[in-house]
């Protein structure tokens, strides 16, 4: 009863605020009726309302599972051991110093003096408990589990020194420890059991989970004792609270932003971003995700793409540029690299991706696809040149699906029959697992170039026990494997970058992928300042945000 009354008051306040024309405060969306800010001279921090279009997590602890929607929310509450800046340099997180041994088999972390929001200290035992939690099969971790797979033992040398012993060198470990999926939680919190910890994980971040109403919102309140990385005294956020709402429909999210119901939205559509750029009241935050780019991968594991000439023909015919420019209204820049533009070690090769229909046709003729059937598609030995392209409607935005249709039409000009098959995520993974695809577009977010090893090492053709495999291109190249393994083992950053560059050249020259653009990660802000995108995977940060 009380909850509904509060809701009523909140919506009344909201509508009154909206009706008042928005000259003062376009929205006090949570209807926070704190009397304090009216009497005292200094304005209260207020409640910021965030509307996310990403799926609602089933568990707020990012150790469990480990996907981007969890990262978005977890990075408000939890902090990782390390962080990474815009230049790709590793910077302090909960660990203020770190040292990798010469043989690459030990990582010594010196912890900053921090306290979890339940009052317990961040110590070496806590680090050990968190790694153990990630590695425990009962946790069901996927992303975090992969990140710390090579950690064999965590030794608590003293209260503030945690020594990670590795089974083999892992050059990606520092980057992996910047990800929200390996963030450090209070051991006491973890001990409460999964059910309780999923509802409100306990960390050291600028905010604390105060409540979760499924399918509606998560309520976050300020952590009064928050100490930012590198600082030594508490600097709590200005905001009193964040209301984290789940608003799946993009048009509704945008309407809520425009009408002042919410302050920040993610996953805006390209036309909404363009409109926002012309609107002084709205700030656009473009924060591409690290790791891989959005790309079309061609399945080299079976006909017809087991022939490099046919792959090249497809890529020469695809011609995605006009589509990217128009459908994404200029907000997505064409990529010619397997890695995101924010990865310092990314290399590009636009020459490999020029559109040339004549060359494509000649390549197909040479490859034996020289006949044409009644519908205009090429055939070889009576078999049609067909490309099954399952599209996950949960992972591809409307603009991208339209782009795929344009590519379908372009490829048809040289005789490819591209069958676009829109499906839900579960069916999509099932189609990949059953090898029922010739082309596919799959996002992958990971900090650092090590994502190449996950996506293109031949080991990744072998499905994980859950049926998932990451190497959709089914690249099976011993030279590439060797480079990726060497890069993983080397401690020399320059050498690693060089190895990764060579690996990218092999991937690009194999015509196994058609890079499209960075993983789109945009935020629109209205009625708030100081919202930044940070953290290893470009999640928004509200540590220094204010309303007004």
């Amino acid at each position: 009863m009380r909850a509904s009354a509060t809701g009523l008051i909140a919506s009344l306040t909201l509508v009154l605020a909206a009706c008042s024309g928005g000259t003062t405060d376009p929205a006090d969306p949570a209807g926070s009726t704190d009397a304090s800010d009216a009497t005292s001279g200094t304005a209260s921090g207020g409640t910021l309302v965030y509307a996310t279009g990403d799926a609602e997590p089933t568990c707020l602890d990012p150790h469990v599972g480990g996907n981007y929607p969890q990262a978005l929310l977890a990075s408000q509450v939890l902090e990782p051991l390390l962080q990474r800046d815009a230049e790709g340099t590793i910077t302090p997180g909960l660990a203020q110093e770190w040292e990798v041994s010469e043989d690459g088999l030990t990582l010594t972390l010196t912890l900053a003096e921090r306290t979890f929001t339940d009052g317990t200290p961040v110590d070496a035992e806590a680090v050990a408990a968190n790694i153990a939690h990630l590695q425990d099969p009962d946790t069901g971790s996927s992303t975090g589990y992969l990140a710390v797979a090579k950690v064999s033992e965590v030794e608590a040398a003293d209260e503030r020194t945690a020594v990670l012993h590795l089974s083999e060198p892992d050059a990606a470990l520092l980057e992996s420890l910047t990800q929200p999926w390996t963030a450090i939680q209070s051991p006491a919190g973890l001990e409460r059991g999964m059910e309780e910890n999923c509802l409100a994980p306990i960390g050291t971040g600028p905010f604390v989970v105060a409540g979760w109403t499924p399918q509606q919102q998560v309520d976050l309140v300020r952590n009064e004792d928050y100490v930012p990385a590198g600082a030594d005294a508490p600097q709590p956020a200005a905001l009193d609270a964040i209301t984290w709402r789940f608003v799946p429909d993009a048009a509704t999210r945008h309407a809520a932003l425009i009408s002042g119901e919410v302050h920040v939205i993610d996953n805006p559509q390209p036309d909404q971003i363009v409109a926002a750029q012309a609107d002084e009241a709205i700030t656009h935050l473009d924060a591409p995700r690290p790791g891989s780019v959005n790309r079309i991968e061609l399945n080299g594991g079976q006909a017809p793409f087991d022939d490099v000439a046919v792959r090249e023909a497809f890529i020469r015919a695809a011609g995605p540029n006009p589509g990217i420019e128009t459908l994404f209204a200029g907000v997505a820049e064409r990529s010619y690299s397997p890695l995101a533009s924010v990865e310092p070690t990314a290399i590009s090769d636009p020459d490999l991706f020029g559109t040339d229909l004549e060359a494509a046709a000649a390549l197909l003729d040479e490859a034996g696809w020289s006949e044409t059937d009644a519908e205009g598609y090429r055939t070889r030995d009576g078999e049609r040149l067909t490309v099954r392209f399952p599209v996950s409607t949960n992972q591809s935005v409307a603009a991208e699906q339209s782009l795929f249709q344009q590519i379908q039409a372009n490829a048809a000009q040289v005789g490819f029959e591209v069958i676009l098959e829109p499906m839900d995520l579960g069916s999509w993974y099932a189609a990949l697992g059953a090898n029922e695809y010739e082309a596919v577009s799959a996002p992958y977010t990971k900090v650092g170039p090590d994502v190449l090893r996950i996506l293109y090492h031949s080991d990744s053709i072998e499905p994980a026990p859950s049926g998932y495999f990451a190497n959709h291109a089914q690249l099976d190249d011993p030279a590439l494997d060797a480079l990726l393994e060497e890069a993983s083992a080397t401690q020399d950053e320059a050498a690693r970058a060089d190895l990764m560059a060579q690996a990218q050249e092999i991937v690009l020259a194999s015509y196994s992928i058609l890079p499209l653009y960075d993983q789109q990660n945009h935020f629109l802000v209205r009625g708030a300042q100081g919202v930044t995108a940070a953290g290893g995977v470009s999640t928004p940060s509200f540590a220094s945000a204010t309303l007004g």
């Binding site: 509904s4 509508v15 009706c19 996927s142 589990y145 109403t213 499924p214 399918q215």
Partner: protein, 343 residues
């Protein structure tokens, strides 16, 4: 008398059990046929790259390592014993998850049903006399024309897709006018307005057409002629006699309307970011969270059966004939219903 009641109650129970069993079975098979491995739901969603131990542990915990027929039997036994089990994805009891969302959807569906009936009745009360206007000249033409517009409006309303209507309402009433919020939280009366209207308008279009059809039929009936012959005015006869007669098949269709409301609630709840059973089912289906989907569908099936009972009672109240020769008249009424719904 008591044996008759008992027999009716048993028949009803049997029907209810059959409906629940069939729907649960169909859902179980459909979810498996759709592809994707339910263990992924346990491990943080499709495509999880959990280690072999984690996968094995999850399979064992939820019995996913058993042969399919055993999983089916376990699931059916769970439903039979009213223990809907735990959600794969959220690891919380399904009953709790559904319980938390049920009220929100019920409020939305009931308010939409009430609004749809009010709209349909209002349009009918205005349009029916106007359409039958015998006034000479321009006034008559105008009245009949207005009735035609209203009838046309009903047809347009009945074919309006929820997502389109909802989006239009958001643009006009949330963004431009700022009267109502674009998103709807339970407990907020203003937030309920746009979702309710979105759900009610197409339904009102259907109900209105049915009412109009029933009225035409009723006006030709002897009792209407008699009533008019006794000097009843057209509106008086409409209110006192024909409308009541015309409403019977429309009420019978409320069971069908319930299905319409639930499927509409899925769209409306997603569109207005409103919690509810529809959204829960969408999410659970995408995740292959079998216990949640089956639990949700079973709850809807039970609600449907209960609603059918309520509808039969209301029908009987509206039509005294049904009270006397219950079985024969019910059959006839249902035959009429089928006829109505085919149009």
């Amino acid at each position: 008398m008591t044996t008759l009641l008992l027999r009716r109650a048993l028949a009803l129970l049997g029907r209810a059990l059959l409906v629940v069993w069939v729907t649960a079975t169909v859902v179980f098979l459909a979810l498996r046929a759709a592809g994707g491995d339910p263990v992924e739901a346990v491990l943080g969603g499709p495509g999880s790259q959990a280690g072999p131990e984690a996968v094995a542990a999850a399979r064992e915990q939820y019995g996913l390592d058993l042969p399919l027929w055993q999983q089916y039997l376990r699931q059916m036994w769970a439903v039979a014993t009213l223990d809907l089990g735990d959600s794969y994805a959220r690891r919380t009891p399904v009953a709790t998850l559904i319980g938390d969302q049920l009220a929100a959807t019920a409020v939305l569906a009931i308010s939409a049903l009430v609004l749809a009936w009010l709209l349909a009745l209002a349009v009918t009360l205005v349009a029916a006399p106007a359409a039958a206007s015998t006034r000479p000249g321009a006034a008559g033409w105008l009245a009949r024309g207005a009735a035609g517009v209203l009838r046309g409006g009903e047809i347009v309303a009945s074919v309006l897709p929820h997502f389109l209507l909802g989006a239009l309402l958001v643009v006009i009433f949330a963004v431009d006018l700022g009267w109502f919020p674009a998103t709807s939280t339970p407990g907020s009366v203003l937030g309920l307005v746009l979702p309710t209207v979105t759900l009610a308008v197409p339904l009102a279009g259907f109900l209105g057409q049915l009412l109009a059809e029933g009225l035409v039929e009723a006006e030709r009936a002897p009792f209407a002629t008699t009533a008019r012959a006794r000097g009843g005015t057209r509106v008086g006869v409409l209110l006192r006699h024909t409308l009541r007669h015309a409403a019977t098949p429309t009420v019978a269709l409320t069971g069908w309307a319930f299905g319409f409301l639930i499927s509409g609630a899925v769209v409306v709840e997603v569109l207005f970011a409103r919690p509810g059973l529809g959204r829960l089912l969408v999410d659970a289906t995408l995740q292959r969270d079998v216990p949640v989907v089956i639990g949700g569908v079973v709850v809807i099936a039970v609600a449907y059966v209960l609603l059918t009972v309520v509808v039969e009672v209301v029908e009987a109240l509206l039509d005294p004939r049904l009270r006397r020769t219950r079985s024969a008249a019910a059959g006839a009424a249902r035959a009429g219903t089928t006829q109505g719904s085919a149009t």
